[in-house]
């Protein structure tokens, strides 16, 4: 039983780390702001959710698990709001999405 939980939590952690790296690589390499926003949301949803789940499976006290759940709830509430506000502000600020691949590479 213990081994099953360990393997589950390790795979969660590794998958979370993978998505974290995927997200930041996208953040670094995508051509314009809106696509980068898309890459960043991978970090804030899948990446953080998987890492926190992996941690929660390793936690021994109930209080730690409660805190981790609260953490993920806060992240899940705040980061989509922040992403929405960023996209809205960028549109207000007349930032044009890149729609063709010709003029940038």
């Amino acid at each position: 039983m213990n081994h099953v939980v360990d393997i589950l939590s390790w795979s969660c952690l590794l998958a979370g780390a993978f998505f974290l790296l995927i997200g930041v690589i996208g953040l670094l390499r995508f051509p314009d702001f809106f696509t980068r926003l898309h890459a960043a949301s991978v970090i804030e949803t899948l990446g953080s959710l998987l890492i926190v789940t992996g941690l929660a499976l390793q936690a021994e006290q109930a209080l730690v698990i409660v805190k981790l759940i609260l953490l993920i709830v806060f992240i899940m509430f705040t980061s989509p709001t922040a992403a929405h506000a960023l996209a809205k502000a960028a549109l207000h600020g007349k930032l044009e999405p890149v729609t063709s691949t010709e003029d940038n590479n």
Binding site: I43, A85, L86, H92
Partner: protein, 93 residues
Amino acid sequence: MFAAAMIAILLAMFMSLCRALLGPTLYDRLLAVNVLGTITVLFIAVFGFLTGRPEFLDIGLAYALINFIATIAVLKFFEYRDMGRATEEELDI
């Protein structure tokens, strides 16, 4: 395994730092700071487990909220004040 996650988190911190320094627009920097805030929260959580003292998670909780407030504040300033509203030329900082 915590160490592997820690290495990934530090790498992610570095890359989002690069995006914040490269820009090119202010929105990109803000996005990078926001992502860095999330990564910092994860850093604190993983660091607590890595050192065997997961009691410091409260700070991660506070960070998640503070980071959100900071991002929203910058955006509000940016969108609703006359000062600092970026024109198209200003965006290429």
